[in-house]
């Protein structure tokens, strides 16, 4: 009998620690499908964040580094600059990437660091039990916004793709979601494009993935998907925010050491 569907080879076959209904598993899978399809597992180094995916190093079969909270892009920079022929990706949540690691995110993007950033936006801190994230929606109830996020008190959410698309060093920024099969397929295509960009040396590529956190949202998995569709996508529109076909250094001026 022909095998028509199997686990990606670069995704280690062990149970994960993720909650039921969490979409990390989907993103792990499509990322690993891309790594397999490109045949690059042996040349790839991944960098994990602090957050729910902190232990992703146990799941991805490529070499992995566990970074301090928010520092994954800096760690990835150190890896990539000394190993320019390798593929380097970070896998980060919203608190990691858009709060404590904002400087590392912005500056790796503006340097045109030739890495891939997979950004999981689920509007909440999952690992620590559901506190306000930089991407928490106005009005959203979390442990630290018990009456709903008040912009007057807690400010507005960070729209990461919109922000990073303003930087010359960003080659590619796309926001995707993993709520439906067509969206999942589009998300995989975006991740593939990001890695192809790295292969071609185009510069910084980020794929923002709208994801769910049923546990900390207090919703059943199916309801969590519905919230993603009804509340998140309107606030965080899907689409390509930046795509520099020729790469960010094609017309670079200045000293070339």
């Amino acid at each position: 009998m022909a095998v028509v569907f199997e686990r990606p080879k670069s995704l280690i076959d062990i149970p994960t620690h993720y909650c039921p209904g969490c979409t990390h598993g989907i993103v792990h899978r499509i990322l690993c499908e891309v790594i397999d399809e490109m045949g690059i597992e042996g040349d790839t180094i991944g960098v994990c964040p602090v957050g729910c995916s902190v232990m992703a190093y146990d799941y991805f079969n490529c070499d992995m580094i566990e970074a301090a909270h928010g520092r994954a892009p800096a760690v990835a920079t150190g890896v990539k600059r000394t190993n320019p022929d390798k593929y380097v990706f970070t896998y980060q949540g919203d608190g990691d990437l858009a709060a404590i690691g904002t400087a590392e995110t912005v500056h790796s993007a503006t340097r045109g660091e030739n890495i891939v950033v997979i950004f999981i936006n689920n509007t909440i801190y999952g690992m620590t039990g559901g506190q306000m994230a930089p991407t928490t929606l106005p009005g959203q109830v979390t442990q630290t916004t018990p009456f709903g996020r008040s912009p007057q008190l807690a400010g507005y959410p960070v729209k990461v793709c919109e922000m990073l698309s303003q930087l010359t060093g960003t080659a590619y920024a796309e926001r995707v979601a993993v709520d439906t099969v067509p969206h999942i397929n589009a998300a995989k295509k975006a991740i593939r494009k990001a890695f192809e960009n790295q292969k071609a040396g185009k510069g910084f590529s980020i794929v923002e993935v709208l994801s769910t956190c049923p546990t900390n949202w207090g919703l059943a998995p199916a309801d969590a998907i519905k919230r993603l569709q009804d509340e998140m996508i309107p606030y965080y529109p899907l689409g390509v925010y930046k795509d520099v076909e020729e790469g960010v250094f094609a017309n670079a001026e200045g000293g070339n050491e």
Binding site: T44, D58, D63, M64, A74, T82, K86, E104
Partner: protein, 352 residues
């Protein structure tokens, strides 16, 4: 061997490149800026990477990333910047990674000042970051010693898979002295058993990590590291003993301060006071055997530091408080003079 007149900060950079450092990540801060500037000029030609990071925090994490792939990596800063790096240093130690960190100390706390200081002794030797760990700490006293310390630091960092620090100060970083660069053939350490440089489908995947959620596993990782520290305490101490054989007063000082003290010791000897100098060249591990050897004939000890007194605690511990230990220091960027130290020695000599 060719002798060059070089500024301390530039000599540190040149020594690192010659020791096989392949990347430098840094952030500007006085009084170590010449080091990064030198790296910016030289590193690319030497086939390495220079990158000015957006922060001290990013710089140390870039070092962590590069070191994870088995490359010799370094960062440098001065006191306030080292505080920012402390998170990354803890992660480097907890991930068993080699790296070299240079601190060209200035006065603190806070923004402090930009003149020389030794007030980061505690930070370097006791707590450069959270958790149970140590880093190797070298305390050179001349531009030539800084060169030698960098070479040793890279070697031992690789040998023991741990961070190593050069604890210099603004005086050493800014002074110019003749320096010779020895022929350096860095030992090649096999990192293929742990480096995350891509497995090429030829081995299991490697993980660089400092997270252990099970307490007994975390405890084991730490106790294993402390076994390594025990070996280092036995084998890696280094100190200079000067006129200590018959000394009544043993003056203890490290780094640039020790040069001031040496002048004072010579002046005391000229006046018939039997003074000697104990100068630790490694601050961690502290040269316990060496100081006990140096203090054999001493009736009193004096710790002289550019701080309010930090190393003095290790001096007392090392001799088990068996003799009186007094302190003299200047802080905030003020450098003690030989006359001041001589005055202290004479005062102590008068009450023997």
């Amino acid at each position: 061997m060719e002798r060059n007149l070089m500024k301390g900060n530039e000599a540190l950079a040149e020594a690192a490149i010659r020791a096989g450092c392949k990347c430098f990540f840094g952030y500007p801060i006085t009084p170590q800026t010449e080091l990064a500037a030198y790296m910016a000029k030289r590193m690319h030609k030497a086939g390495g990477v220079f990158l000015q990071a957006e922060s001290e925090i990013a710089a140390i994490n870039m070092v962590l990333g590069a070191a994870s792939t088995g490359v010799r990596a370094m960062t440098s800063s001065s006191s306030p910047g080292i505080s920012l790096k402390s998170e990354g240093v803890s992660y480097i130690a907890g991930s068993d990674l080699p790296a070299v960190i240079i601190n060209v100390e200035r006065g603190g706390p806070g923004l402090g000042g930009i003149q020389p200081s030794q007030a980061d002794y505690w930070q370097a030797t006791k707590a450069l970051g959270h958790g149970d760990f140590q880093l190797l700490v070298y305390a050179p006293a001349s531009v030539q010693e800084m060169v030698d310390a960098v070479v040793t630091a890279f070697d031992r960092a690789d040998k023991y898979r741990m961070p190593a620090m050069i604890l210099a100060d603004g005086m050493l970083g800014q002074m110019m002295e003749p320096v010779e660069f020895p022929e350096i053939n860095p030992n090649a350490y096999d990192k293929s058993g742990w480096a995350t440089d891509g497995h090429k489908f030829k081995r299991e995947h490697h993980i660089i990590n400092s997270l252990y959620l099970k307490p007994d596993e975390l405890e084991k990782s730490i106790t294993d590291r402390y076994k390594k520290y025990d070996i280092i305490k036995e084998t890696e101490t280094d100190a200079e003993l000067y006129l200590t054989e018959d000394c009544d007063i043993l003056v203890c000082a490290f780094g640039a301060t020790a040069r001031v003290v040496k002048s004072a010791v010579n002046a005391a000897r000229a006046e018939g006071i039997k003074a000697g100098l104990f100068r630790p060249k490694t601050l961690w591990p502290f040269p316990v055997k060496e100081i006990n050897e140096a203090a054999k004939s001493a009736k009193k000890l004096l710790s002289v530091e550019m701080s309010m007194g930090q190393m003095i605690e290790d001096v007392k511990l090392a001799i088990n408080c068996s003799k009186p230990v007094e302190f003299f220091g200047r802080t905030g960027g003020v450098i003690p003079t030989p006359a001041e130290v001589l005055g202290e020695i004479k005062r102590m000599g008068g009450t023997l």
